[in-house]
Assembly symmetry: C2
Homo-oligomer: 420 residues x 2
């Protein structure tokens, strides 16, 4: 496409240029802007240096149609974004009573008292408008410098990402692509254990005919987060419903949700517990679930039965199964989960056994072969075999996610046609 | 410092500007260049677009004393770095017989045949020199454009990082800081479970008097990687020895090494195995060890005894200890490791029990209170209590690392004065 508007990204902070912290904004904004229809021509990190900032920003507003600045909105004298933007458009900074009142009330609601240095955060350049911050303290602001839309957002990723999705997207959609602002809200969803190419294809099929429908995907560690954008809510909802129809309600979720959090909620709502028997994942499934604060409500414990001896000794799996069928087999996975259900009071269990590589594969059972069995004490077992591609990390990660998803399926009485 | 030479970083690739992959180069290079004495004025990501690349590079060589370009050195037509650098200095690209022979032999040693499109990777701009690639296929190159040193390195982080430390650092040190090139090699080490501020202070004390001694630190997930730079090898060695004296040989290591890899090697060299009993870490210590390919040689298995019931049921810890002393106590940790040693054939064991938060803390046992007991079948127990700061993730990560380090200590018969 030639008519994509040009976006330029700015991240401000000496902690970035000195390599003290990792910049994740370019990835997040790059993916979201691509989905929205922009072409990012440049993404620049600069230290807290007003001269460099001014010079680069001047160039950027001349070259781009959209400039997004992240960081530099804090209360200290290092935080330069307000001053530099005001300088670039020769506008004074104006104190915003609303922002100040909001800051004061946020601090006092946490039992704190706001410092007078925070007053700085209540100023924005004249002619600019506020971008509300639903998460942290300082708001962002946006306006135009010549022909270019300039938007300043805070540096903390949780604030930036929430503000971008909730506030910036409808605004940019309206401004650049003629959508009506109020209705151009996004629907954020998560795709769990769906290969990226398959999800893209399904989105294409579901939304392809609708020219005003935009979507983007962002591949995270254990899920793909997707955003659907259309003028009307019912059209977004229709596409979402088609995805659910195609992949089932366990794998297509509303909101940005990790598989482990989905399982946690399912167990918590039932007041039930789970235990895992992990071989190739070596504790990763348990780690994912216990990353969640409050996991002790739903997680009983696990056995990491890495060696065959541990499978026999800790779980009581019969040596004959391991010998005749192999440790990586439907029978071994099923025996592991059966024994775990016998030996613990957990309401649900899942067992994982596979070959994570790089060694240990054979022609019959190549690296990536994984068997998972999930059982529910009230009845039901799902036992599935997989051939995961990728390196050791990828095989282990996918195996743990698959065990978590199969656990949720067995609890909900859903089968899952998993395409791996 | 005002006389710091100015560095400018470039990362080239549409996969970066579209947010498909995360850029980790700016963090790595930013930290290393800071340690070396540079001031990074700007770090730019651009898509594979020759016009933008040329324009930005022209500006950068005019403004900086050092420009490092990462990416764009592959064999496809999208890979533009060679062409753009040659263009900027109006130099032709020259075929380098040596590079080509090296590429051909690398491919054939892996049983492959090189594609003719790879010939592209054997060209570098006239007047530039090769930066050898010890890890991957294509080398980098460096030379000067006007007054500015321009260095092009490949995009894959493993290649970039190895080449930068092994090749670029001595070269830059010599060129910008008057060190003798041959002797300005770096000593890379890892600090395991040492708080950053303490390490900085120890480096300051050990190296402070030596003005020609430079160091930098990079905080990774489970360790701090430090580099020592001095003209003579014996001076680097002396500083390193002082760090070992201060923190012990388990926590100060040569090279960039993860704690889990250090434990793996120790166990492997003894032909012995380990098992963990994990409570608050929920499988993370086991996950770290099994991240290593070949972990099955040294890892027997684990019990994730998250609930008290699991501690009794799976490990056989007496309910009386849990009741009288609490699940988070020296006695509970010690009983967990004792039971694990009784119930498994593993040569060494470590047990972890603590309060990861955010809930569950008390005045007596605040969030971050963790007890770890490591035992060796041939004799010896180390049982230590910690008060880790930070959020749930940080407490869990530090607890797992501490268990891994105490395991290595108990195997080696070393005590560790851990400052947490």
């Amino acid at each position: 496409m030639n008519k994509q508007p040009i976006s330029i990204l700015f991240s401000v902070g000496t902690e970035l240029t000195e390599g003290i912290i990792l910049n994740t904004h370019f990835r997040f904004l790059g993916a979201e802007l691509r989905g929205l229809g922009f072409h990012t021509r440049k993404a620049i990190q600069i230290p807290d240096d007003p001269r460099v900032f001014r010079e680069e920003l001047r160039q950027a507003v001349a070259a781009g149609e959209l400039v997004i600045i992240t960081g530099g909105l804090g209360p200290t004298s290092d935080d330069l974004t307000r001053e530099v933007v005001a300088d670039i458009c020769s506008a004074p900074l104006r104190f915003q009573e609303d922002i100040w009142k909001d800051l004061v009330s946020r601090y006092s609601s946490r039992g704190g008292k706001i410092a007078s240095t925070n007053r700085k955060q209540a100023f924005i350049p004249e002619g600019f408008r506020i971008v509300p911050n639903g998460v942290g303290s300082a708001p962002g602001f946006w306006g135009t410098v010549g022909e270019c839309v300039v938007m300043a957002l805070p540096g903390p990723p949780a604030e930036l990402e929430q503000m971008f999705l909730a506030e910036a997207v409808p605004l940019l959609h309206s401004r650049f692509f003629g959508g009506r602002e109020r209705s151009a809200q996004v629907l954020v969803g998560s795709a769990l254990m769906i290969p990226e190419s398959l999800l893209e294809q399904a989105l294409q099929e579901a939304a392809g005919a609708d020219e005003a429908m935009l979507w983007s995907t962002r591949v995270a560690y254990d899920r793909i987060v997707f955003t659907l954008r259309a003028a009307q809510a019912d059209r977004r909802g229709r596409i979402f419903a088609r995805l659910v129809e195609r992949f089932g309600p366990v794998r297509i979720r509303t909101g940005d949700i990790q598989p482990s959090v989905a399982l946690y909620r399912e167990l918590d709502s039932r007041n039930e517990t789970i235990a895992f028997a992990e071989s190739c994942t070596g504790g990763l499934a348990s780690k994912m679930l216990t990353d969640i604060p409050g996991a002790s409500n739903v997680f009983w414990g696990s056995v990491v039965a890495y060696s065959n001896q541990a499978k026999m000794n800790l779980l009581g799996v019969s040596g004959r199964i391991l010998e005749e069928r192999g440790a990586v087999s439907a029978e071994a996975a099923s025996a592991m989960s059966e024994q775990l259900l016998l030996n613990t009071p957990a309401d649900a269990v899942a067992a994982i056994t596979g070959i994570a590589g790089p060694e240990g594969g054979s022609a019959e059972k190549p690296v990536g072969t994984v068997w998972i069995s999930a059982r529910y004490r009230r009845g039901g077992e799902l036992c599935k075999g997989f051939h995961f591609r990728g390196n050791r990390d990828a095989v282990r990660r996918r195996s743990a996610v698959a065990a978590i998803i199969l656990s949720e399926c067995v609890l909900r009485g859903e089968d899952a046609q998993l395409e791996y």
